[in-house]
Amino acid sequence: MRKNAITALASVLVVGMLAGCGKDPDARKKIVFIGYSSTNTFWITLKNSAEKTARKAGLDFADMTSSDPDVVAQKAAVDNAIRMGVAGLVIGPANSEGLGKSLDKAKAAGIPVVTVDTRVKHDWISSHVATDNVAAAELAGDYIVEKLGGKGKVLIIGGTVGVQTADDRRGGVFNKCKAAGITVLDFDANWKDDEANRIAQEQLAAHADIGAIFAACDPMILGAKVAVKRKGLLGKVLLVGFDAIPEALAAVKKGELDATVRQDPVRMGKEGVELMARILKGETDIPKSIAIKAVIVDKSNVDEYIK
């Protein structure tokens, strides 16, 4: 929690100081981790798992994640890492497009890069570990279609347009619904719960026949839940989120949320670093990507995942 924030701050300070110092002779065994956000529960879990795996593999681990998902900060971090002369980069890009030039520099310096969770548009990336967001969303889509039994509209509340993760999650559910002939109401709330609350409230008022609401992240579905609850429709409208944050799991257990999609941040962190360790050892038969399966968590299996 606060410790992580201070670690992040300290790491940035240290890097800043080292930036003027040229190559660090011990850097050969160091990998740098640049996550999506240092305050996001999912990413904290992922990072912790990555760090543990790194230590087990005998690698030095440095975390240069910023507190906000910010491409500019990530680019700076990549540049710093290159200058430090690290052996490898594990990145969870904030944006599919923005890291371009910095990653090219990494390639030129011969530093292998493994991406986690969000893809970037570079073919030469050593490997990509992600929840297959599309497949995961399709799981959600199937769940919704099945539970609706063909009746009612579906309200999709998306994340920020242009972010691969958002597009994938929305796309998965959208396609499944369309295939089943269900009408979809399509809105974006930029990952914000108050926006989602407003959209849900307005759409529920505008359309009397909404049978389910899917939101691309849990805070948004919880915001929508408030609107549903206030309109007295709890239980009558299916609510499905994504990410399985603790608040969402608690809500599922309480019966206020129908389901959420659980990614496996532990496995993602572990797999990402294990791949990097293998690359650094010189192995060449590295899979181009590893898709981590997601799981639908609803009342039937929520107890497994609640800590």
Binding site: T39, A206, R230
Partner: protein, 318 residues
């Protein structure tokens, strides 16, 4: 500005006419908008912004500007959230002291803003811009990895868990108190004076620094209160709340008819401004228009509102 009831009523009537026009527009064009439930929806969506904008009105009338209130809302959300969240079944403290502490935090940040602005000469724009980032950073730090939910029933009542009378009363109370303050007290009179011409006020014996700082403090208090209502309503706290709300609040104030430069205006008009924004958003949603277009249209409305106001002012002067 005060005491002239006629002029006040006319000005408010103009904004009210705008609101009615917008509502009628949507009532005609969108069948789903026509239900009574829509009106309550709009009210529910307006509460927090109204509280925030009431504080902003005060600051603007005094000739100040506070860009940090959205981030202060986020910070207060996290403060309240961490004090009240039920980790391991027990909150850190009970509702009343937690709420008091949160309000004190908002008030305190407002004081810091005001004192910095008035005693260093750094423009309000810059100081509150800096505070905006400081508060946001603090909110994120406070929230990192923390579970801020699972609040007690007593707290949830504030957000409307047992019906909307509670939050609506809180909102109404804030509006009424600030309105009375402005219209009926020495404090309000002097606030208008400072906003009208700070030097004249100073020369006439008004302790301008003290009053200006007090307005910033009250603005911060409103931000905290808005955060409490919102956190209670959503039943959990997140540090990314309130983003751009300072600008929405200013937009509501301006649409309502209060001048950005101070010295005139009122809370009643701000409330109308809030309702206009929220009605627009709701109406457009009912018509299937997405949030990106909504933003564009609200921006257009803000510019139009100020433009129309200027034209009217020019006509009045001749």
């Amino acid at each position: 500005m005060i005491g002239d009831i006629r002029k006040q009523v006319i000005r408010s009537a103009e904004s009210l006419a705008g609101l009615v026009a917008i509502v009628l527009f949507f009532v005609i064009l969108s069948p789903s908008f026509r239900q009574w439930a829509t009106l309550t929806d709009i009210l529910e969506q307006s509460m927090e912004l109204a509280i925030l904008a009431a504080g902003t009105t005060l600051v603007l009338i005094s000739g100040g500007l506070d860009l940090s209130v959205g981030s202060v809302m986020a910070l207060c959300t996290c403060i309240a959230g961490s004090l009240l969240s039920g980790c391991q079944g027990q909150a850190v403290m009970s509702v009343a002291p937690a709420v008091a502490l949160t309000l004190a935090a908002g008030l305190g940040i407002g004081l810091v803003n005001g004192i910095t602005i008035k005693y260093t000469g750094v423009p309000a724009f810059i100081v509150t811009l800096g505070m905006m980032m400081i508060a946001r950073g603090a909110a994120l730090m406070l929230a990192a990895g923390r579970n801020m939910s699972d609040f007690s029933d007593a707290f949830l009542v504030l957000g409307g868990s047992h019906g909307y009378t509670v939050p609506l009363s809180i909102t109404a109370a804030v509006i009424v108190v600030i309105a009375l303050l402005l219209a009926m007290t020495r404090f309000g009179f002097n606030v208008y004076a400072i906003g009208g011409n700070e030097e004249v006020a100073r020369l006439s014996g008004v302790p301008v620094k003290r009053y200006a700082i007090a307005c910033y403090a009250l603005g911060g208090l409103c931000a905290a209160l808005a955060a409490i209502v919102q956190t209670s309503r959503f039943e959990f706290a997140k540090p990314n709340r309130g983003e751009s709300w300072e600008l929405m609040a200013i937009g509501a104030v301006v649409i309502g008819g209060t001048s950005l430069f101070g010295g005139s205006g009122g809370v009643g008009r701000t409330v109308i401004g809030v309702l206009i924004i929220k009605s627009l958003q709701t109406g457009l949603s009912h018509m299937g228009v997405g949030s990106y277009w909504q933003r564009i249209l609200i921006g257009v409305v803000i510019i139009l509102a100020v433009w129309i106001d200027r034209i009217q002012n020019r006509r009045r002067k001749t």
